[in-house]
């Protein structure tokens, strides 16, 4: 089971990248009542039957992990959302992509802690592959947006300790502005 909201976000964004998405958009909105997350990708998508099976912990997409018969990412998320009275919606169209939205109520005792957003976003930006990742963060009335492409353009890449560290410093600054 994952510990933080950032862990769930990492898992679902990784799913989107592994689904062959060329573009992934992430929106994370926090306010006094809830944390809402939307992850939309233009990957290969799922038909209704596959989408239903994606919530089965003993199902993994054939060929994704040879020899492995579990897929725990979405089942973990559904379990956590259900036990906090949150919401989870997934819409998917084969060949067009998947939109996943989840919401955790802030006041529920079992809502996971947020985690480290800056470190998490650096990890997501550093995932391997040729894709764009556009992230919007909102915290009450404040917000910022950042795209993987602009970080790669500014730093010349996102694969070395140095570039990842600079990206982390940049994103931490943006996160600090949200909380000021």
């Amino acid at each position: 089971m994952h510990l933080t909201l950032c862990d769930y976000l990492t898992d679902v964004v990784q799913n989107a990248v592994e689904a062959g998405a060329g573009r992934v958009t992430v929106e994370v909105c926090e306010d006094r009542d809830a944390v809402e997350v939307a992850v939309v990708d233009n990957g290969k998508g799922m038909d209704a039957g596959t989408l239903k099976k994606a919530f089965d912990p003993f199902y993994s997409e054939p060929g994704k992990h040879p020899g492995r018969r579990v897929g725990l990412g979405l089942p973990f998320l559904r379990q956590a959302v259900d036990q906090t009275g949150g919401e989870l919606k997934v819409e998917s169209t084969p060949g067009a992509g998947t939109a996943l939205r989840f919401r955790f109520p802030a006041a529920h005792a079992d809502t996971p802690p947020a985690g480290d957003w800056a470190a998490t976003l650096v990890g997501l930006m550093g995932l391997p592959g040729n894709f764009e990742l556009a992230v919007t963060r909102r915290c009450g009335a404040r917000g910022y947006a950042v795209a993987r492409g602009e970080l790669i353009e500014a730093l010349g890449g996102l694969d070395t300790a140095e570039t990842l560290s600079l990206a982390r410093q940049y994103l931490q600054g943006r996160e600090d502005e949200l909380k000021e």
Partner: protein, 134 residues
């Protein structure tokens, strides 16, 4: 921590690349590959990733080490797992790599060229082998 803008990042990139050209930095042939599947995430691999970024960026001779993420390496019982590829050293998959072990791998494996024996798993990751053979 000083707040950076994208322009600051561009300027830093230029100054650092000039500095690296002067120093002919080692490390660019070294890869640290972190398993970031569901099992890895649940076991704390994000913290491991963050620790490697911080520890390597703080060592001038290791700033250009490549840090990659991959899916499940098939060693879910030993997550977080980390593969280290380094010229002159055997390719190794380490298991149970929390932040403390990550810092030890940086110091011992990457700097002192000694294996961190307590955490070595020698089975290569199937998906990594597959991606390398392409």
């Amino acid at each position: 921590m000083a707040k950076l803008t994208l322009d600051d990042l561009r300027k830093l990139r230029e100054s650092k690349s000039n500095e690296m050209e002067r120093r002919n930095v080692d490390g660019k042939d070294i890869s640290v590959i972190i398993g970031m599947g569901t099992c890895g995430i649940a076991a704390g691999a994000k913290k491991t990733f963050d620790t490697f970024v911080e520890a390597l960026a703080g060592k001038p001779e290791l700033k250009t080490v490549v840090i990659r993420q991959t899916g499940c390496m098939g060693l879910c019982y030993a997550e977080p797992t980390v593969e280290v590829v380094m010229p002159g050293m055997p390719t190794v998959i380490y298991g149970n790599v929390g932040p403390e072990v990550a810092r030890k791998i940086v110091q011992e494996h990457l700097l002192n060229r000694r294996l961190v024996g307590d955490h070595v798993f020698d089975k290569p990751a199937a998906d990594i082998v597959k991606s390398r053979s392409k």
